[in-house]
Symmetry: C2
Subunit: 355 residues, 2 copies
């Protein structure tokens, strides 16, 4: 494997207070970087002080959208041990996304070794408080400078670390969501299934307009404005009286790591969960009939985020009296208990940090 060099900082930063972290506001002392060049392979793999990248203004990422990322977390267990949550899931999704975006994915051993080494270097940055974690952002960008549309022959891979608290300022309280019919996040044949910056680029305006109307996120529909896809930056689950439904992965929905973990957890309990197409018409019809008990979003950043109010075509529908429901509460408690080592990791999700 490519050798990883280390150049540690002489001026470590002060840690932010663990009860005032917010999300994505602080970066740790170091980052991992490595570079791929066509014909040469991977080189310059190193743990270095967190700092600016020097990139040619003609680099592909500035012009042709070659940017892909992952979102994952490390936790400090109550025992003090540090664990990653399902890093192989994120590696494989990164590799699939890189193929779609014509970027080069790092080999798995380079990804994992870089991950362990940079987190080990910044272990003191893993916060200890409740609802905190170390958010990890592996990123691939096209760095070759040229104009004229074609894939970059250089890929820059870097991993950033950010100590985080709750994603939403609401904390774990239910959020209000806006069903979006003007803007589209992704379509079949596009990039929706991979974690490309491009998907987020399209979503910003919709989220901004929803926020101005008082909604924390948008509910994304498909191109026909019927099939439900995602909620904001999360996957979505609907808990009906007789089944739990999440939209099936149709090629434009992101295969979320927390979505997958929740499916595993629900199936391990023999709960009636199904992945299928579900339309906004069905959700609203069943809301009207009192059959929708809970709805929640799932994602690495927010873990589980209950939906308290769903806006659709001029009407605000309240779900579960705008309170946290029993299932979303239970799932949140179980996942976070497993992450902190307070509950047995029977589904083998955790990978200890190598020392």
């Amino acid at each position: 494997m490519t050798t990883i060099t280390k150049n540690l900082t002489n001026t470590p930063k002060a840690l932010p207070p663990s009860d005032q972290l917010g999300f994505g506001q602080h970066f740790s002392d170091h980052m991992f970087v490595a570079k791929y060049t066509e014909g040469k392979g991977w080189s310059e793999a190193s743990v270095v002080p967190y700092g600016p990248l020097s990139l040619d203004p003609g680099a592909s990422v500035f012009h042709y959208g070659q940017a892909l990322f992952e979102g994952m977390k490390a936790f400090r267990k109550e025992s003090g041990e540090v664990v990653f949550f399902r890093p192989e899931f994120n590696y494989h999704r990164l590799a699939e996304g890189a193929a779609r975006l014509c970027l080069e994915a790092p080999p798995m051993d380079l990804f994992m070794e870089g991950l362990h080494q940079v987190v080990a270097a910044d272990e003191r940055w893993i916060p200890k408080g409740p609802n905190t974690s170390l958010y990890i952002r592996p990123t691939l960008i096209g760095s070759e400078p040229f104009l004229g549309v074609r894939p970059s022959r250089e890929t820059l891979f870097f991993i950033l670390l950010s100590p985080v608290g709750s994603y939403y300022s609401e904390g774990t309280k239910p959020i209000k969501i806006w069903t979006e019919e003007k803007y589209l996040r992704a379509a079949p044949g596009g990039l929706g299934a991979v974690k490309a910056g491009a998907n987020y680029a399209s979503s910003l305006k919709a989220a901004l307009e929803a926020k101005k109307k008082g909604y924390a996120q948008v509910l994304w529909l498909d191109v026909e404005h019927q099939g439900i896809e995602e909620v904001g930056t999360m996957n979505v689950f609907f808990v009906f009286d007789n089944e739990i439904v999440t939209p099936a992965l149709n090629g434009s929905i992101l295969s979320g790591g927390t979505r997958d973990a929740i499916l595993q957890l629900l199936r391990s309990k023999n709960l009636p969960v199904v992945e299928r197409r579900i339309t906004i018409t069905e959700v609203v019809d069943r809301l009207a009939k009192g059959e929708l008990k809970e709805a929640f979003g799932t994602g690495t950043a927010a873990v589980i985020s209950p939906v308290g109010v769903l806006h659709y075509q001029g009407k605000d529908w309240t779900i579960n009296n705008n309170e946290n429901g029993p299932l979303s509460t239970q799932l949140y408690n179980e996942i976070t208990a497993i992450q902190r080592g307070a509950q047995a990791d029977t589904l083998n999700w955790l990978v200890p940090l190598k020392k």
Copy 2:
């Protein structure tokens, strides 16, 4: 207006030979940069030596796809005078795109002043040979460092200059195109109408696969795999025996500057050109009947690029015996003659460089 400072290089580069330019391979000695910060406005506007940007690895452009560009050209007329081709068109499209991507567009006077000053600084880079020009790449990126999906509160604006020859290695010979039914460039409600890096991100894989099969570009269809949208990085025109058709701007098609110029030129000649929905089924049906006389792509980079072969569902259709057709040849000759001052600029397309 924001003051523009100048810091000119002491080590100008050697000019590349004007008959070996290719496209987007060379950058000039200088670039224009300016920065917008929420609450502060535009600052640091300057013409500086071309060189690396120093950007925080958490910058929005690396994660959330906030990247938008323009493509435009300056020409050296036969008289020696330097002219821009329709810079106001590009400014307005940039401003519309910035609003869609939640980036800040520079005020028009800053855009124009930066453009004139950087091109004046690098006037010697404007090539003289046939089919050459100075390609100009204004670019906006989100530069604020944070994680968590929201618009950047900082925008970096820069203008790069690249002396160019023909976009295609084929020169102005007809190209072969592949009708794409697997991948999608854009969909209604997405970013297709603006020049976002995100659209190109989705297109790279399709173009690569088409190239491997021997086709220079793909013909993009709409989400229903029927309506024709664009060809590769160009708009597209079909010349039938009784009408000239280009797809109407439907929200997912880019409003091309050359498309608009060609429409003006055709209308000034009272030729029967229409902007309407046109399907691949119609094109192939009329090809079979011998009614399709010519097809060509239009774009700033390639100007006009005749289509000689159209592949659709397993069959290669030859158009106009795979030769340059009379209308595309005439349009190419007229536009390039106007750009070089060999034909009167009756449509007021040219803006002289301020000295």
